[in-house]
Amino acid sequence: MSTAEMRLACKPGDYKSDVQPVWCPGCGDYHVLMSFTRAFAALGLPPEKIAVISGIGCSSRIPAYTNCYGFHGVHGRSLALAAGLKVTRPDLTVVVASGDGDGYSIGGNHFLHACRRNIDMTYVVMDNRVYGMTKGQPSPTTEPDFDTALSPGGTGVRPFHPLVIALASGANFVARAFSGSPNETADILVEAIRHPGFSFIEILSPCVTFRPDEKEWKSMVRPAPVEATDDAARAARRLMTDDGFNIGVLYRGERRPFQPPFGRADADLTALETEFVL
């Protein structure tokens, strides 16, 4: 079957598993799942050619809801797992899913170095500015005055700007999307997956349970007023005035992806075992 025929034959439903999501009704992550399956169908990729890797959190449950290869890993370590997978199986399309806690707190260091290393994979962070799964603690993107029983008076700590960090650390594609526009998010995903190297997408995805105020995001997001650029300095200047609600592709870089010359996917298992005998 040609790629064009494959694309016509693929339906988003083909990428859904039989596992019923347990996200709260209204959670933005339902829309993100929809964007994943729409993007995979648009790419016309067979599910067994895609691996969805995640850490821990409500957002990180997403691999179970697709029928691609999946790995629901350790908190904050999705990028390390994904990097290992991609260098040994470069034929797979690797999509990494994370949350603002998973990806920016415990996994923050991996984020920096994954951007630097520029392995060809797509990193999606579903940012709800809270730890949803553990019941509402502030995360690195939470506003300093988020005043709740769990953070009385707010943290007073300056939030992290994920796009600035991604750009400064060398990500080769940087974008922001909004869960409530699943087709537009799917389009950005398609572009990010096709773009060589490390692609980063921050998806604003409301947590309706612990951040009901985020339902307002629907009326706050807007298409970014400027086209994407391949000039990192220009992208950085744009971020200086970014209020966090501009949606679209910010930066498309041209760095060559990192792919080490050693692929071990077809290595002889017995030989590998011998190598690791203590």
Binding site: C24, P25, Y30, H31, K135, T148, A149, N183, F210, K215
Partner: protein
Amino acid sequence: MTQATPEITSLPDLLAVAWRIEADAVERYQALAAQMETFNNAELAAVFRDLARAEGIHAEEIRRMAGDLDVAARAREIDPWRSGESPESADLAEAHYKMTPWHALQLALAGEQRALAFFDHILKTATDEAVRKMAAEFVEEENEHVDLVRRLLRRHREPSENWSEDPDAPVAQD
């Protein structure tokens, strides 16, 4: 969610897109029913299953009207929702685990109104006579659906302002 308005120039395309609108609505109501089942809201799950069934009947009627045309395949080729969402599909972001049948019917009403606006737009902009004639039929039908949901809504009292308050909230956030 923004609404999509693909350009429709032939009767088969209109039938395919109309079928797709209903099929998308079925899928969305089924997803909402499953969410409500997961959250032990059986009453609401039943409402969403009924809505899915009703939309399924409409989808089947359109498929019959289309005769030999493979509406699903044609809809896939047209890919009508490249941007925006299928008009009749309920907005997932409006769901809540403590929502009531009144809220579910409000979602249904909004969906029917979007579908009505969609076909009305085709009626007003199409140049092909067969497309206009069929669009007029769809407008009439969608008007009936809007009336039906409004009648159903009269059976339910609007919930009080604090309907989403949970005496056993997930965590104290005050």
